[in-house]
Symmetry: C2
Subunit: 431 residues, 2 copies
C-alpha cells in the first residue's frame, strides 16, 4: 500500500481520550517505527467546541458533528472513548458500517452489545479491538486471544475493579468499616458519588462477562453473571478472614466445566499465600489457568488516564498494522461455541458462614445437624462470645454445591437459637 | 488463499517437542477454529528413528534427514525445539532461506545470533517467532512487542530462571545453605548435574539480553550483559535480608536511561512487599514499567514441557494466521535504535555490604570514613558479634553509582581491621 499516514478519528476527549491523544503525540516517533507508518489524529468529536481541554490542539481538529469523522474517507480508524451506550453504540455501528476499524475502551457497550458489534465488524471486514475495556493497562484480551490460544482455558478469575480493591485493602490494613472507607475513597476520587456500579459488583460483572466470553469461546450475556457486591462486608468479616489465613477480595470468577460455564462476581476469601492476595490498592490482576500453561497471572493498573490510553493506543497500532497489510479483521470474534451458563446454585465452592446465635448449650449441634442433612460438611468452626446472651459462630465448609448451602441456610434461619445469618462469603483459590 | 491445512515440520522431539505435538493433537479442534485452518505436523526431525517416544505417532512421520522438512514445499512452518546452536542455527537459517516461517524456543540461539536470524527472516519475508525462548509460558515477548507498544519502556526486570528461584525460595524458607539446596534441587530434577548455566546466571543473561533488546528497540549483545550468579549467597545473607525487610532473588534487570541502557543479572535484595517477592518455587515473573501503563507484572511457569509448548503453539498459530492472510513478517525485528549498553560501573543502585571485621573500637568509624570519601552514603548499619575477636558489619547504602562503591571497597579491603568483604548485593525495587 502506498499511504504515508493513517488517520484516526477520536470520539470523545475525556480523561482517556486526552491520554490517547497525548501518547499519539508524545510517542509518535517510536509508534511510527513500530507500525511502519505515521498515525495522525485528524478529528475529535466533542460536545462543546469551547471547553478548555488543557491540550495544545491544532486549529479545527475538534468537531461536534459525527459525520465529519465517519463520512471522511481519509479516516480509517475510529477510537471510541465516549463511554456509555447511548448514543455511543449507534456511533460505533455507523463507523463500522462505513468500513472504519474501531478501537473502544467501553466495557458497558462490549458486554451488552458485543454480538451486534462483532457481527457488524465482520460484515464490514473491520477490526474491532477492545483491550482497554477490561483491566485498563493489563493486556488480558490479547493474551487470551493470542498468547494463550493454544490452551483450553479452565479458569479466569481476578481483581478487576480498582475502587473496591482500594476499599478492601484499606479495610484490611486499618480494620475500618465499609461506610468509613467509602467516604474516604469518595473524598480521594477513587469512588464515584454514586458508587453503586463499583461496590455493587456491576462494573466487575461487565468485565468478567467479556473475559469469560473470550476465554471459553462462548458468549456470556451480562444478565447471566451472578453478581454480589461488597456492601455487606464488615470489619468483623475482615478480621475473621485474617484469623483463618485469608484476605477478602472482590473477584470476577469464570470456570469451565463439562456441564457449562460458571461466571460470577462476589467478595471472596482467598488464601494469604495466593498471588492475588498481595494485589493491593487500586491495582488489578487477572489469574488464568490453562490446560497447557498452568497458572499465570497478569498484574497492573486497571484504570486511569494513561494506563487505559496505553491499551487503546496498542490496539490502534494493531489496527494500523492490519490496514497497512490490508488484513483488518485478522483476529475476529472467537465465540464459536454455544455453552450453557450455569445457575449459581449449580456452582461449587467452599463457604465462610458467620452466624449470630443464642449463647446456650446445643446450638452448635442443631446447626451442624442441619448442614449434615444437606450434605454440607464443615472444615472448621470458631465460636466467640459476643455479649452475655449471644455468641458468634463462624463456620468454613468443605467444597460443596451452592444449592445445598442455600437450602441449609433456609433451614438454619428457622432455628429459634439462630438470631441472624450475618454473612456468607465464598472461599476460592485453594484445592 | 485456498489451502485447507497448514503443514508444520518439527525439528526435535525432546521434552518441549513432545508437548508441542501433544497440544497440536489434543487441542486440534479449538486451534482450527481460532486460526481458521487446520494445522498438521507432517514431519519430525529426530536423531534416532528407533527410540521409543511415548507418543502415538503416525507411520513415517519421523525423519533423520533435514531436507525432508526444509525442502518440502508443503511445509510452511518449521518449529525448532532442538536447543543448542550447533547445528541448530544452520538448520534454522536453511529453513528461513527456503521461505518457511520459523518458531523457536531457543534462547541461546536468539540471544547469540538474533541479528543474523532476523535479517534472514526479513529477507525471505518470513515470521520468526520466539515467545517460548524467554520465561516459558509467560507471554512477555508478545506483550512487549504489541500490548505495550504504545509505551516507552523504562524498566524490565524479573525472575527469569526457575532453578535459582526454587533454590533461593528453599534457602529462605528453610534457612539452609547453597550447597545443600543445590543437591536437593539436583535430586528433584530442578537443577542439572552441571548447574553452571543456571546458578552462574548465564541462562538469565540470555533471557534479559532478549527482553531488553525488545523493550528498548536496540540490540543488546549477550557479551554486554553484566552477569553474577547466586553461588556466593549464604544462609547469613538470607537471614540479614529478612531482618532488613527484603528477600533475595536472582533478577535480570534492564533499565533505560538517557545515557544508554543498563542490562545486568545478579542476586538482588527486593522489599518483601514488592510483587516479585511473593513469586516462589520454580515460577517466573517479569515486571515491566512503561511511561503510560505504569507498573505491570506477568507471572507463570518459566519452563517445563507444557508451559513452554503453550508458548510455541501460540506462535505457530500466529504464523499460520499470517500465512492464511499472506502477511508473514507483519511484526518483525524491532531493533531500530542503536543505544549504548552502559558499563556496570555506570549503573546506580543501593547496596547491601557484609563485612567481617576485627571487634575493636574505631573500626566502624574508619570504614564509614572510606565510604564518605567516595561519596557513598549509608542508610543503615547492623553490627553483630561473630566470635570473641571478630564482628560482622552489615551496611546498606543509599542509591549511588556502582563505581563509587567498587572504589570504596578497594580501599576498605586495605584496612587492617577488615578481615573480609563477605558479600555485596544490590538492592532494587524501592524508590
Amino acid at each position: 500500500m502506498e499511504r504515508q499516514v493513517i488517520k484516526v478519528g477520536l470520539l470523545g476527549l475525556g480523561t482517556v481520550g486526552r491520554g490517547v491523544y497525548r501518547i499519539l503525540i508524545d510517542n509518535a516517533e517510536s509508534i511510527k517505527q513500530r507500525v511502519g507508518i505515521e498515525l495522525e489524529v485528524k478529528k475529535i468529536l466533542v460536545r462543546s467546541l469551547e471547553k478548555n481541554r488543557g491540550l495544545d490542539l491544532p486549529e479545527g481538529i475538534l468537531t461536534s458533528n459525527l459525520g465529519e469523522i465517519v463520512d471522511d474517507p481519509e479516516i480509517n480508524i475510529v477510537v471510541e472513548v465516549l463511554g456509555g451506550t447511548n448514543p455511543t453504540l449507534d456511533y460505533v455501528l455507523e463507523a463500522l458500517r462505513k468500513g472504519k476499524s474501531v478501537v473502544t475502551a467501553n466495557k458497558d457497550m462490549v458486554a451488552e452489545h458485543g454480538e451486534r458489534l462483532f457481527a457488524a465488524a465482520q460484515q464490514n471486514n473491520c477490526d474491532l479491538l477492545f483491550e482497554a475495556s477490561v483491566a485498563g493497562g493489563i493486556p488480558i484480551i490479547r493474551t487470551l486471544k493470542q498468547s494463550l490460544a493454544a490452551n483450553r482455558i479452565q479458569e479466569v478469575f481476578g481483581i478487576i475493579n480498582g475502587t473496591t480493591n482500594y476499599m478492601l485493602t484499606k479495610m484490611t490494613q486499618e480494620g475500618s468499616e465499609f461506610d468509613d472507607v467509602l467516604k474516604e475513597a469518595q473524598a480521594q476520587g477513587y469512588a464515584e458519588s454514586d458508587p453503586t456500579a463499583d461496590v455493587g459488583g456491576f462494573d466487575a460483572a461487565r468485565k468478567i462477562a467479556i473475559l469469560s466470553s473470550i476465554a471459553f469461546n462462548t458468549r456470556v450475556p451480562l444478565s447471566r453473571v451472578y453478581t454480589e457486591g461488597i456492601t455487606k462486608i464488615s470489619a468483623e468479616d475482615i478480621a475473621y478472614a485474617n484469623e483463618l489465613g485469608y484476605v477478602i477480595k472482590l473477584l470476577g470468577i469464570a470456570k469451565s466445566r463439562d456441564e457449562g460455564v460458571e461466571v460470577r462476581v462476589h467478595p471472596t476469601f482467598i488464601p494469604k499465600a495466593h498471588p492475588l492476595a498481595a494485589v493491593g490498592d487500586v491495582f488489578n490482576a487477572v489469574f488464568v489457568r490453562g490446560d497447557a500453561v498452568g497458572d499465570t497471572m497478569f498484574y497492573g493498573r486497571g484504570a486511569g488516564e494513561m494506563p487505559t490510553a496505553s491499551a487503546v493506543v496498542a490496539d490502534v497500532m494493531d489496527a494500523a498494522r492490519d490496514l497497512v497489510r490490508n488484513v483488518p479483521g485478522i483476529i475476529g470474534c472467537t465465540c464459536f461455541e454455544h455453552r450453557p451458563v450455569l445457575e449459581v446454585g449449580q456452582t461449587f465452592s467452599k463457604y465462610y458462614i458467620r452466624l449470630k446465635v443464642s449463647d446456650k448449650p446445643g446450638v452448635l449441634a442443631s446447626i451442624a445437624l442441619v448442614f449434615g442433612n444437606k450434605e454440607v460438611s464443615l472444615k472448621s468452626v470458631i465460636q466467640k462470645e459476643a455479649t452475655g446472651k449471644t455468641a458468634e459462630l463462624v463456620l468454613v465448609t468443605h467444597r460443596v454445591q451452592e444449592q445445598n448451602v442455600q437450602d441449609a441456610l433456609m433451614d438454619i434461619k428457622q432455628l429459634s437459637s439462630v438470631i441472624e445469618v450475618a454473612n456468607v462469603i465464598r472461599v476460592e483459590g485453594e484445592e
